[in-house]
Point group: C2
Chain length 126, copies 2
DNA sequence: GGGAAACATTGATGATCGTCGATATGAAGT
DNA sequence: ACTTCATATCGACGATCATCAATGTTTCCC
């Protein structure tokens, strides 16, 4: 009834988890399974999205007229301290989801054009 | 030269971070900014994707012939212990990305149909 | 120059996460 | 019944994370 397939399990353990935040420009092909390096890079983007406050930051920036928002506009609606908001914004910038432009004393954050679509592409090419 | 806008910052601190894994069926509208609850639910999915080994699990399951794979098939290519792989798979199932079906001694995992597309939709409707 | 405002950085702390070995569960075969 | 195999669960440990208060930095204005 049930075909008896050959199965073996291995239990070794080793892992090199170095940050490795290279600037990779080209999207991977997306046919074979991800190798460890690709998975590491892709996970960095989703790690940036894996926090409710960061999602709200993206959402607020996107919904803001002109597509720009400064830190003080983002601190109040999230009910977080200013250093925490700055910290989250830095993570989003490092993930190439937000762009930071400093004009005078203010820092204006805006969505990186095509960043959302590119991230959706990462999902599709899993 | 620079218009002097009115800006104020608040530094209060409070937060209710309860799991709240309700079964929400309908996608949010996606015009106004996310409220705290929506952001919490959405972050759960991205949290599941925020690990390189889980991304590789999804990728391998997707690339496997028949769209099904059992734990012992996934343990070896990831170079992780069996309990760790089971733990990651549980997280992916809880996020409604993978489906688990137990047949005999084996547990077969497969992609939830439309889960990837629905997750991409979450991005688009930020 | 001096003060004020906006933001970033530092250091610390409690919480969550990824991983493992050991163990439990459950189904199949002798 | 007993063993074996595939998988899940438990408990623990080190690493990472989110958050804050305090402080540093830079820019603007008087």
């Amino acid at each position: 009834m049930i075909v008896n397939l050959v199965h073996n399990g291995s239990m070794t353990s080793l892992q090199t988890v170095e940050p490795a935040v290279d600037d990779a420009c080209c999207a991977p092909s997306g046919q074979a399974a991800l190798d460890a390096e690709e998975a590491q890079r892709t996970a960095l983007v989703f790690k940036a999205l894996a926090d409710p406050n960061r999602l709200r930051l993206l959402s607020i920036v996107k919904a803001t007229g002109g597509g720009e928002a400064c830190v003080c506009d983002l601190t109040e609606p999230l009910d977080l301290s200013q250093p925490t908001v700055s910290h989250h914004l830095k993570i989003l910038v490092d993930a190439r989801l937000l762009h930071r432009e400093k004009r005078g004393t203010w820092a204006y954050y805006s969505l990186v054009p095509g960043a959302i679509e590119r991230t959706a592409g990462l999902l599709a090419s899993l």
